[in-house]
């Protein structure tokens, strides 16, 4: 058996070299995109202005903001209530309900988007905000219930008991005691569902098929690409525009993003 033994110094240099090589591979496309969009090494914002105007990104970003805000607000309230019920109140059948919500985490959009299209169309909900918001609330609630249930289960039992002794109803205990304490858990959930909703592509592509004025940001970028096949500077500017809001939040709260996304896959 060959044994690979190196001196500490050689190993240190080699390890850093491996890391640097992969960091360069990871960063290279990002740097290339930024350089292309800003026309580096000069610095020119005209590409951005042009892309912003020609790609109608003001409209698309506004639409994405409306869809994301409505989806996340509704999903957050519903998830908090459902997670509280399954984690604390535990009515009969809550075990089965939990599994039902858990199953939602593995349902891909691809499996539901076609029936959603035909059924929403017959309800005249295609090409409306509601048509993309309601299905995304459903997807977010699957994760949110799973996430909030875990938080409520981890809350100290004594705290809930104390609130009960003080005569607080279950409703008061939830909103006055447990939710104010759950800021970090709720924030992580809001960040993740915002990201998923902002980045969603297939659902808006199918549901918002004819009303250009409702297109979300990723949808707008894909149509912008169709119209500007080889104007790569503008395309890169467009890509940066639609990625910017989430990336900006990520830079400040990256620990929460990482912890949340990785825990989503861990069953208890």
């Amino acid at each position: 058996m060959t044994r690979l033994v190196m001196t500490g110094r050689q190993e240190l240099v080699l390890n850093h070299a491996i890391l640097v090589v992969f960091a360069v591979i990871a960063v290279f496309p990002l740097v290339a995109v930024v350089a292309q969009a800003f026309q580096l090494p000069g610095f020119d914002l005209s590409t951005f202005r042009e892309a912003w105007r020609e790609g109608h990104f003001a409209t698309y970003m506004r639409n994405s903001l409306i869809v994301t805000a409505a989806t996340v607000a509704a999903a957050t309230v519903l998830s908090i209530m459902a997670g509280y019920a399954l984690g604390v109140l535990a009515p009969r059948g809550s075990g089965v309900l939990f599994l039902l919500f858990l199953a939602g985490l593995t349902i891909p959009t691809e499996a539901v988007v076609i029936p959603l299209y035909f059924d929403l169309r017959s309800l005249n909900l295609d090409n409306t905000y509601a048509g993309v918001i309601l299905p995304q609330i459903a997807q977010s609630v699957a994760f949110g219930t799973f996430w909030m249930r875990a938080y409520f289960r981890a809350c100290p039992r004594s705290l809930i008991e104390a609130a009960r002794m003080d005569g607080a109803s279950s409703w008061t205990t939830l909103w006055r005691v447990l939710v104010p304490m759950g800021g970090p858990a709720i924030l992580t959930m809001v960040l993740l569902t915002s990201m998923w909703t902002w980045n969603e592509f297939l659902l808006p592509l199918v549901i918002l098929n004819s009303d250009e004025g409702l297109r979300t940001a990723p949808l707008g970028l894909s149509f912008f690409q169709g119209a500007h096949q080889t104007d790569y500077a503008q395309l890169m500017a467009g890509a940066l525009i639609i990625a910017a809001p989430i990336v900006a939040v990520y830079v400040f709260l990256q620990r929460r993003f990482i912890a949340g996304m990785l825990s989503g896959a861990i069953k208890e």
């Binding site: 044994r3 190993e11 390890n15 491996i18 990871a26 290279f28 496309p29 990002l30 290339a32 995109v33 459902a82 019920a85 399954l86 604390v88 109140l89 009515p91 809550s94 309900l97 039902l100 939602g104 593995t106 349902i107 959009t109 691809e110 499996a111 076609i114 029936p115 959603l116 035909f118 059924d119 309601l134 459903a138 609630v141 699957a142 219930t145 809930i160 009960r164 005569g167 109803s169 279950s170 939830l174 902002w198 980045n199 592509f201 592509l205 199918v206 990723p218 970028l221 790569y232 395309l235 940066l240 990625a243 990336v247 990520y250 990256q254 993003f257 990482i258 990785l262 896959a265 861990i266």
Partner: protein
């Protein structure tokens, strides 16, 4: 009305029946059932019909599923999905293992920075990633510029339109997946390595183990749980890659990059085979469910 013995365990104030919990779940359950579970049921229902989306459908039994599994073009799509699993899941995990193996023995400066950068592709909209890579692979893009530079140094000319090339389009798309998922695996394994007790490494070193043996004996077994999580997330990503294919290749050239996620859309809206599209969607959902369940079983099965 309700059994009294549970009172102390449930956090329910006196005077409220146990079933009050249902009122709290109900709003979430209604939206979830109406807009996720019901469409899934409807999708299954549609998949039993031959329907073009306009005229009246005809009952087709399971023939759409037979077609999903036997039609050469669709079998090709599922075959491509398996190849993409290698690019999205297997290669990133292997590379991340090498990287983590490298750093587990030494203290690395700027690890937090590496972490943030490596994980960044996970939060960027896939459409933006795809648009960016389409340029990176384009005839005059960065990849070909580098290859032409190498050509000038005497190497053969490897430059080409990668995403339009019959041989290289699928690996080119796959490498985008590799690039996206490396960071995820890396961040998971880095966190896992820090939880492995230092004494195990010290013991291995006292036994005279080199980096390779140390990795196999200490690092790898210590990361089994993280490996399962990484595989679950990356395998699912490999199968749910509609955005990337739609933006970069639309399944082309020819049928070289067709995948089930794209075929769901393609069959429903381009070729008017709605029933078949739904059958592909349901099959894809089942495949994702089985693979992720299988992976977590594997992780728990061996002496967790």
């Amino acid at each position: 009305m309700t059994p009294a013995k549970d009172d102390s365990r449930s956090g329910r104030p006196p005077g409220e029946p146990r079933s009050i919990g249902w009122l709290y779940v109900l709003p979430a359950l209604l939206v979830y059932a109406a807009f996720l579970l019901w469409p899934l049921v409807r999708g299954f229902w549609f998949s039993l019909y031959e329907w073009d989306g306009i005229s009246t459908g005809t009952w087709a039994g399971l023939s759409n599923y037979t077609k999903t599994l036997t039609d050469p073009s669709l079998r090709g799509a599922f075959g491509h999905a398996l190849i993409l699993i290698v690019f999205y899941a297997v290669i990133p995990c292997l590379i991340a293992f090498v990287l983590v193996g490298a750093v587990s023995r030494t203290r690395i400066r700027g690890l937090a920075f590496f972490r943030t950068v490596l994980f960044l592709p996970q939060v960027v909209a896939m459409v933006a990633v795809a648009v960016a890579w389409q340029w990176v692979y384009s005839p005059d893009g960065p990849v070909n510029s580098v290859l032409r530079g190498l050509h000038r140094l005497g190497l053969p000319d490897w430059s080409r339109g990668w995403l339009g090339d019959f041989t290289f389009a699928l690996p080119a798309v796959g490498l985008i997946g590799t690039w996206v998922e490396i960071g995820l695996a890396m961040v998971l394994f880095l966190a896992g390595v820090q939880k492995i007790p230092r004494e195990l490494y010290e013991a291995a070193r006292i036994d005279g183990a080199g980096p390779v043996r140390e990795f196999l004996a200490v690092t790898l077994p210590g990361l089994r749980r993280e490996l399962a999580v990484a595989l679950t997330l990356t395998v699912a990503a490999a199968l749910r890659n509609f955005d990337l294919i739609f933006v970069t290749t639309k399944g082309g050239p020819g049928e070289e990059t067709k995948v089930p996620a794209y075929e769901v859309y393609n069959r429903a809206f381009n070729t008017g085979e709605v029933g078949l599209a739904c059958a592909i969607g349901i099959t894809l959902a089942a495949l994702i469910f089985l693979l992720t369940a299988g992976i977590s079983r594997l992780a728990e099965g061996r002496g967790a």
